[in-house]
């Protein structure tokens, strides 16, 4: 890290897993990079999410990115010199009744027709074999066997460290106040001076709409605070990550016995203060869902609850790709509470687009133009 660079081939704004991954992949392609982060890498959504590494139940528009990412996750240590705590015990979507199960079947049939085969139906018997603790009323579900989980902040920081080791200039604790055109360059104004680059990547997460608005590409971004809670260690009883078809729940036991309970109930984000407020009445609904599904969990002590600050788009899909208005501007934000798994692959694809102008990984449907073009 030079620590003094004022211009580079690429400036990445935002040090989440997406920003850090894009910085790393740009550096791998020989581009000089400055990454600017207002707090520290992984401080928000990327560092405090549930850590799910999940292809299961994704919208078809982001499956190609998800596939590209999963290939990287399975050799993550080769890329960033750290295994990021990645474990691969699969993810299971549990159907709680026959209606849920019929929905699952329709979904898997549709994916198969499109040529995606990572999701497989399982019946009640196999569900019970894989998740013995699940309530006996559940008739089956869907499994994605190559899925798993990782440790979010550790993974994000591993991408940052590796990018830095390849020469990327990582500026933490620096806040971007303005972005403007300067001849063939973009001028990024910060509280630590100005930076110049012909290309900028907006990976600013829950703050990305402000940058987009500066660039005359306003987006309807909603700032959200998905809540999570974790228990004291329990005896090992479940390997895969479990999600539900009908109710909000994401459920995982770590190797040390602690159980993470998430699923998207929202607290209140105060993004200008870097703070989130929890809503215990909604966390109580998560607790009630776990009570129903996993009787073994009823006496478990909840030792910690928290929420990150994330960005959500109205269609729950990210904004990913070139700007619709400006040469040299790229967007990579709005991952709507499911962007952690996408980080490694999205960074690779973004770097490819920056370096070559195109990528063979389809990203149709994620373009910012879906919000900004007027007809």
């Amino acid at each position: 890290m030079s620590g003094s660079r004022r211009s580079a081939d690429v400036i990445v704004i935002g040090g989440g897993i997406h920003g850090c991954s894009t910085a790393l992949h740009c550096a791998l392609r020989g581009l000089s990079v400055i990454l600017i982060e207002k707090d520290h890498a992984g401080r928000h959504a990327s560092g405090v999410n549930a850590g799910g590494v999940r292809q299961l139940a994704r919208h078809v528009a982001e499956i190609p990115l998800s596939n590209a990412s999963m290939a990287i996750w399975h050799r993550i240590a080769e890329l960033v010199d750290d295994d990021c705590g990645f474990t691969c015990d699969g993810q299971v979507l549990v159907a709680e009744n026959e209606d849920d199960l019929a929905n699952c079947r329709a979904r898997v049939d549709d994916l198969n027709l499109r040529g995606f085969h990572h999701e497989e139906m399982i019946d009640a018997k196999e569900l019970r074999e894989i998740v013995p603790a699940v309530s006996e009323n559940c008739p089956g579900g869907v499994i994605s066997r190559r899925d798993g989980a990782a440790i979010p902040l550790r993974a994000t920081q591993a991408f940052k460290r590796k990018a830095a080791s390849l020469g990327a200039d990582i500026r933490e604790g620096v806040r971007v106040t303005k972005v403007e055109r300067d001849g063939s360059n973009w001028r990024v104004v910060t509280d630590a001076g100005e930076f110049l680059s012909p290309r900028i990547v907006n990976a600013a997460g829950a703050w990305a709409d402000r940058l987009a608005a500066d660039l005359d590409e306003p987006v309807p971004l909603e700032v959200i605070a998905p809540m999570l809670m974790i228990t004291a260690p329990l005896p090992a009883f479940i390997k895969p990550v479990v999600i539900l078809r009908g109710r909000k729940l994401s459920f995982k036991q770590f190797g040390n016995g602690t159980v993470l309970i998430g699923g998207g109930h929202l607290g209140t984000p105060l993004r200008d203060e870097n703070v989130t407020l929890l809503d215990w009445k909604k966390l109580a609904i998560s607790a009630g869902t776990v009570w129903d599904l996993f009787p073994i969990m009823r006496g478990a002590p909840v030792v910690r609850a928290w929420a990150g600050i994330e960005a959500r788009m109205p269609d729950d899909l990210p904004v990913f790709g070139k700007s619709a208005r400006h040469e040299g501007v790229y967007h990579q934000f709005g991952f709507s509470a499911h962007g952690f798994q996408l980080g490694p692959g999205a960074g690779a694809v973004m770097a490819e687009i920056i370096a070559t102008g195109r990528s063979n990984v389809p990203i149709d449907g994620l373009d910012i133009a879906r919000f900004t073009t007027t007809h």
């Binding site: 520290h40 992984g42 560092g47 440790i151 979010p152 902040l153 550790r154 920081q157 460290r161 974790i230 228990t231 004291a232 909000k248 040390n256 109930h265 209140t268 703070v275 407020l277 929890l278 809503d279 215990w280 009445k281 909604k282 966390l283 109580a284 609904i285 607790a287 009630g288 776990v290 009570w291 969990m297 009823r298 006496g299 478990a300 002590p301 909840v302 030792v303 910690r304 609850a305 928290w306």
Partner: protein
């Protein structure tokens, strides 16, 4: 005082909720009730008193000389509270505190009694959660037979029990001498007191001596110390400690400069002073600063003990260590502040009534600085030099691991350290390891604890079971809000 026997007996909301029934909380609740506020005092112990006056109404220790006259002063504080109109929930864990979004300017608190949880409202909150012992990790401190001096004092006050067999007390601070004398009076077999007070502290402390000479603690302290030194085997200037034994404690090893020693014992009591217990105020979002003289994180409070979060005040040792008597006075001052903010008392009247209490507080805190400077722990006890020493007991993280992560992985703060080592993520949420982790990071990176910062702590401040949460009463609005 109105006892609250079950969670369903709590009101929907109170003018003031006070957390903690030590001298600060008891005094705050009694005073606030006297000023016409509806008050709930919630405390997780079965009886009032906090740590210092623990079990004052129930202790089996009837010989007043054992615990000393200072202890029995707690009875007056409890009696005054009992005469007040405040409600009192014993065995009640307060596990969360946040703004009530439905009612701006008010708070929502999560409480549990007998395995049942509930959310209630409060217009003002006083945290009187007190102090905790400073963590004191030495090699072998996780062996059975090693415990904190505070734990021994709880057993003595609560159940009249003293450690069995040969007992060594080690560390520094005024409480060390007090406990040694209490245990000796209760016929505990104390074979040695190993005093780790660094000799190098004396020159700095002497500068603050003139104030201390006028402090009411001076005579008491000298008497106590002289008695302890006279009656017990006393080893000064101890620079290193280790607990040794296979499966259980057999002996304590120590160094006194160049000299090495070992004492066979069955119990080792460790104590290195007390620091504010900041988990609650931290999780509630109150700003904290590192107090160099007390060498601890202390919430920022104003003259009325109001924190940076409007409506939350912090009274007693939780707002900076001052001792039991000062805690009671600070409880009063916090109550005046809360009553005035609620419009029950004009500012002029508040100032007038609080003036004599403030003056008494000034007298009491006179000389505190001398104690802080004299009993500031030595660096090797704040950040254990031996790599194998466990510093996070919940997750069994060692000092060496923290140093390695700080040096090799470039981990700059305790919150990032959590992701790598899980220290501070166990059920105690960093109560036992937080100060040590900060110290180790500061030392490794050549900076100060103030620069390193502290854990961002998360609710629940105390664990609450999934069953308790699942059974939280749901309002119709809350159910509608999530079905979308």
């Amino acid at each position: 005082m109105t006892p609250v026997a079950g969670i369903e007996q709590l009101a929907e909301s109170y003018d003031l909720v006070v957390v903690g029934a030590g001298p600060a909380g008891l005094s705050a609740a009694a005073r606030a009730a006297g000023l016409g506020l509806t008050v709930l005092l919630a405390d997780e112990n079965p009886a009032p008193g906090g740590q210092i006056y623990r079990a004052i109404t129930t202790t089996p220790v009837k010989d007043r000389a054992i615990l000393g006259e200072d202890y029995w002063r707690g009875a007056e504080i409890v009696a005054r509270f009992e005469r007040s109109q405040a409600s009192y929930a014993a065995r009640c864990t307060v596990w969360s505190l946040g703004p009530d979004e439905a009612s701006p300017g008010s708070f929502e608190l999560g409480l549990s009694v007998d395995g049942k949880a509930r959310m209630i409202g409060a217009r003002q909150v006083i945290l009187a959660t007190g102090a905790q012992e400073r963590p004191f990790p030495i090699p072998g401190w996780t062996l059975p037979g090693v415990m904190t001096a505070g734990a021994a004092q709880i057993a003595l006050k609560g159940a009249g029990i003293v450690p069995a067999g040969r007992t060594v007390i080690a560390g520094c601070g005024p409480l060390l001498y007090l406990l040694a004398s209490q245990l000796a009076a209760a016929r505990c077999e104390i074979v040695a007191v190993l005093d780790t007070t660094p000799r190098a502290n004396w020159p700095k402390a002497l500068a603050a001596l003139p104030d201390f000479l006028r402090s009411p603690y001076l005579a008491k302290g000298l008497k106590l110390m002289a008695a302890t030194r006279r009656k017990l085997r006393f080893v000064s200037n101890v620079t290193s400690l280790s607990a040794k034994g296979e499966g259980t404690l057999r002996q304590v090893g120590f160094e006194q400069g160049e000299r090495q020693g070992a004492i066979a014992c069955d119990t080792l009591l460790l104590h290195q002073g007390v620091i504010p217990s900041v988990n609650f105020s931290n999780a509630a979002g109150c700003a904290h600063a590192f107090d160099e003289e007390q060498h601890a994180w202390v919430p920022r409070v104003d003259a009325w003990l109001a924190s940076s979060v409007p409506g939350i005040a912090i009274a007693g040792d939780g707002a900076g260590i001052g001792g039991a008597e000062s805690a009671a006075l600070r409880g009063e001052i916090a109550a005046f502040g809360a009553a005035s903010r609620l419009g029950k008392l004009s500012e002029a009247e508040r100032d007038r009534q609080a003036a004599p209490i403030r003056a008494a507080l000034m007298r009491l805190l006179h000389g505190r600085r001398f104690l802080d400077l004299l009993y500031r722990p030595a660096p090797q006890f704040l950040a254990p030099p031996q790599d194998e020493t466990i510093i996070c007991r919940c997750e069994e993280v060692t000092a060496g691991q923290v140093r390695d992560a700080a040096a090799r992985l470039g981990v700059t703060g305790p919150n990032q350290m959590k992701a790598f080592l899980r220290c501070g993520m166990g059920p105690c949420q960093g109560r036992l390891c937080g100060p040590t982790v900060v110290e180790l990071i500061a030392q490794t990176r050549g900076t100060t604890p103030a620069e390193v910062g502290y854990y961002r702590l998360r609710p629940p401040v105390k664990p609450v079971t999934l069953a308790e949460l699942a059974a939280l009463p749901q309002t119709e609005a809350a159910v509608k809000a999530v079905v979308r």
